[in-house]
């Protein structure tokens, strides 16, 4: 892949990697007695591992073909591989921590392996590792095809992809070492956060420059969502992570936001990480891969506009529903609840738009598990957004908050929506990218589909039961007017559901492993094919008159 870069591009890649390695050396020296020093070594190793292929092909002959005449798919291929790798890691950690809740000695007396340290490796592994890599890879694919233009950079896509993965590695290793801000879904410490800002700004510039090269007058709807994802995640990440390190050599920092303001900023961030990372970006996937796979145009352009701007505007108000009945002022809670309920309109507009797009293609849904992944994702999206609006209503939240119901709700969205749409998109993308005529085994896609559906249903039914039971036990009174159950009574009642949840999660993980095998065999064994329509960007000359 390095051989496809010109000499000057190879030079810039080498210089960037050397600078990263130097930063790693500085971290290792400044934090030599601390976790930050370990992170410095990890940065050096990461840069060194990438420097090796760059330097070994440094003097290879320059590429001769006209690169603008083809799409840039190499970073997408690597991104898909990284996404599947992180999926296995993140879901394995999820099954492990789920098992720890049922069998607490499964941390084997280690400090690094306690629930508190491993739980964020699961959330970061699946959200940022799996979800983030899937988003970067598919966004690179979608923006090129819908703009009919090649990515606006040769080195920058690699910088975005590997830089982002370096962030994920620093995050996950940090938790195990005890480096965390304990801000939910924003756990990484200040230097990892700063690094992500650099990577993310590059991502934005690359994306917008590619859109600027488009040969289509209109920006396709999938790109609206990817742009909203990139932009708003940048805003959320920067504001929520403003912090003061105790010294340049220490991983420890203190957030600038105190107490109640921190709570509001944190859940403004936390809920919109759901909105713009786990929803907007994946809706971008949905709006491209679902119509492609179904062979049908999007049902309604107007619904697309309504749902896009509804989601972009309403979601940012909804975070305070995480803080009902707390010390956050009542008026903010009420605003959050109101907008959360209103959010149902754009959310169902998207889900409905997706399902109505399938009209005329339902026989394909029956026969093609890949399309069924996307159909099921749209259904779960509809279900979990309804549940979200419902749980945001204050009296409902009184029962559900702090219980497993929230966990079940999150997984209805994360497994049922985010993971299923990703797998559907990846199964569509892999044969197209590697120019294979089909996936290796349709039967294995069926297996993956049904394991994923069964695992998700077992998981969310277990958590609905445990959450509602727990919430009811906490508020049950005896006839004498005293609390009927101790906290411990409610914990003991949870054990069967924690075991069921572990089984559901393990089934989902097994499905993902089958998916990895199927993708690997597709690349290795399925014969190459020439696509019927040329999958090429539009040459500048063709649209010179535009």
């Amino acid at each position: 892949m390095v051989a496809k870069l010109t000499t000057s591009e190879r030079q810039s890649a080498a210089v960037i990697l050397l600078l990263v390695a130097l930063a790693g050396i500085a971290m290792a020296a400044a934090g030599r007695n601390e976790a930050m020093g370990v992170h410095g070594l990890i940065v050096i190793l990461f840069a060194g591992a990438l420097l090796y292929p760059v330097l070994s092909a440094f003097y290879a002959p320059e590429p001769t073909e006209d690169r603008q005449a083809s799409y840039y798919d190499d970073p997408i291929k690597v991104g898909i591989a990284l996404a599947m790798g992180w999926a296995i890691f993140g879901m394995f950690m999820g099954v492990w921590v789920a098992a720890q809740l049922a069998w607490p000695n499964l941390h084997f007396d280690g400090a690094w392996s306690t629930f508190g340290r491993l739980r964020p490796t699961h959330t970061t592994g699946v959200i940022f590792g799996f979800g983030g890599n899937a988003l970067i890879a598919t966004s690179f694919h979608v923006v090129q095809r819908t703009s009919r233009a090649r990515l606006a950079g040769q080195v920058s896509p690699w910088f975005v992809l590997f830089g982002y993965n370096l962030f994920c590695v620093l995050a996950v290793t940090g938790y195990i070492l005890g480096v965390t801000q304990s801000k939910e879904y924003a756990e990484p410490e200040w230097y990892a956060d700063l690094w992500l800002v650099v990577v993310w700004v590059t991502y934005f510039l690359l994306y917008i420059a590619t859109i600027a090269r488009r040969k289509e007058p209109h920006i396709y709807v999938a790109n609206w969502y990817f742009m909203a994802f990139i932009l708003v995640v940048a805003i959320l990440h920067i504001v929520n992570n403003l912090a003061l390190p105790i010294s340049w050599g220490s991983a420890k920092s203190y957030t600038i936001w105190p107490g109640v303001q921190d709570a509001m900023v944190q859940w403004w961030y936390g809920h919109n990480a759901v909105a713009f990372f786990l929803t907007a970006g994946f809706l971008g996937m949905l709006y491209y891969y679902l119509p492609i796979r179904a062979g049908r145009p999007i049902f309604s352009y107007r619904l697309s506009i309504l749902s896009f701007w509804g989601i972009t505007f309403f979601y940012m108000w909804a975070g305070s529903h995480h803080l009902h009945y707390t010390a956050l002022p009542h008026w903010v809670q009420t605003l959050g609840m109101t907008f959360s309920v209103m959010l149902l309109v754009p959310s169902w507009a998207s889900a409905g738009n997706a399902l109505l797009t399938l009209n005329g293609a339902w026989h394909k849904v029956r026969d093609d598990a890949t399309l069924r992944f996307m159909m099921a994702a749209a259904v779960f999206y509809g279900i979990s957004t309804f549940e979200g609006s419902f749980l945001a209503i204050r009296p409902v939240n009184a029962l559900s908050h702090y219980t497993d119901w929230t966990v079940g709700h999150v997984h209805a969205g994360a497994l049922g929506w985010v993971a299923l749409i990703s797998f559907g998109s990846i199964y569509t993308l892999v044969p197209a990218l590697w120019k294979r005529e089909r996936m290796y085994s349709p039967a294995l896609i069926e297996w993956h589909f049904w394991l994923a559906i069964a695992g998700t249903l077992i998981y969310i039914f277990a958590m609905w039961n445990s959450g509602i039971l727990q919430g009811l036990m906490w508020r049950t009174y005896t006839e004498e007017g005293t609390l009927a159950y101790s906290f411990l009574d409610s914990l003991v009642a949870m054990y069967p559901y924690y075991i069921a949840r572990t089984i559901g999660g393990a089934m989902f993980l097994l499905g993902t492993a089958i998916g990895c095998y199927n993708i690997w065999m597709t690349i290795r064994l399925v014969p190459a094919t020439v696509p019927e329509e040329a999958d090429l960007p539009v040459k500048d000359a063709v649209v010179a008159g535009e």
Binding site: Q100, P104, N105, H107, D109, G110, T114, F115, G116, R117, Y175, V179, T180, S182, E184, E187, M227, A228, L231, V232, V239, I246, K252, Y254, T255, P258, G259, V260, Q261, D262, A263, V265, Q266, W268, Y301, R302, I305, W309, T312, F313, Y315, M316, W317, G319, H324, Y325, T326, P329, L335, F339, A398, Y402, T403, T406, R475, L483, F487, L491, Y495, Y498
Partner: protein, 250 residues
């Protein structure tokens, strides 16, 4: 007409970017900015004290271990919560908390008012192996805390960073941070008096982990757990609280 307008903005990348930023900014600004300007957001509590260096170190261990994943520190304004855990939490009680640790999940009970509810010895035994004292518990064992010496050489840096963010630590507190951390866990030492002098007579000075000669992470975490809900008694005043504040002397 709106459709016509949209067909125009979706032809301009920069226009679309600006429109997204505009639409997405409103909610956050309206909900966050007033929290700094409306005075009633955080109550007055003249008796509120800052965390001692040992308690702050304990809090940072709580942060490091991710305890918030299973324990909330926010008692809601609901009858059953007030009866189970104590008076509902006030905003002022976390005004020195960076980050706040209100949490979002109770796999274990709320800890906002756990201070003074159990003895130091109970906490130590529970942290070493929770199932020794609560057989049904699914909490991990934190025995390594009792084996790990507490790092004190950077405590002044911690206090200084907190002061730059607005926590009222004095120069004296910052200068004596390491000595105060040692003194708070060694009641018979010469350093113990300084802790009461700087942080108030009510500050608990105790060999938290049962061994006065050695300062461990267990000392710090137990000191923090014992001060939870006891930095101010504001929550017990005019809030129809059914209980009295735990007596700091027991």
């Amino acid at each position: 007409m709106p459709e016509f307008f949209h067909r125009k903005i979706e032809r301009s990348a920069i226009g679309f970017v600006l429109a997204i930023i505009a639409a997405a900014s409103v909610g956050g600004i309206v909900e966050i900015a007033p929290l700094f300007t409306i005075d009633e957001t955080v109550e007055e509590a003249p008796d509120m004290r800052v965390y001692t260096p040992l308690e702050l170190a304990g809090r940072n261990i709580y942060v490091r271990e991710g305890c918030y994943a299973c324990h909330s520190q926010m008692i809601r304004t609901l009858r059953d919560e007030v009866e189970r855990y104590g008076p509902y939490s006030l905003a002022v009680e976390s005004k020195y908390d960076r980050p706040m640790l209100w949490g979002s999940k109770r796999t274990g009970p709320d800890l906002a008012r756990v201070g003074g509810k159990y003895s130091d010895a109970w906490h130590v035994a529970h942290l070493i192996n929770p199932r020794d004292v609560v057989p049904e518990s699914n909490m991990p064992a934190y025995a390594f805390l009792a084996r790990t010496a507490l790092r004190t050489d950077d405590l002044s840096d911690h206090l200084r960073a907190q002061r730059r963010l607005g926590v009222p630590y004095t120069d004296e507190m910052i200068g004596n941070a390491a000595a105060d951390a040692y003194g708070q866990a060694a009641p018979d030492s010469d350093f113990a008096a300084g802790v009461s002098e700087r942080y108030g007579e009510a500050t608990e000075v105790s060999a938290f982990d049962g061994v006065a000669s050695r300062l461990t992470e267990m000392d710090a975490l137990v000191a923090y757990l014992q001060v939870l809900g006891r930095l101010t008694s504001a929550a017990y005043e005019n809030t129809a609280a059914p209980q009295e504040a735990p007596n700091p002397d027991n």
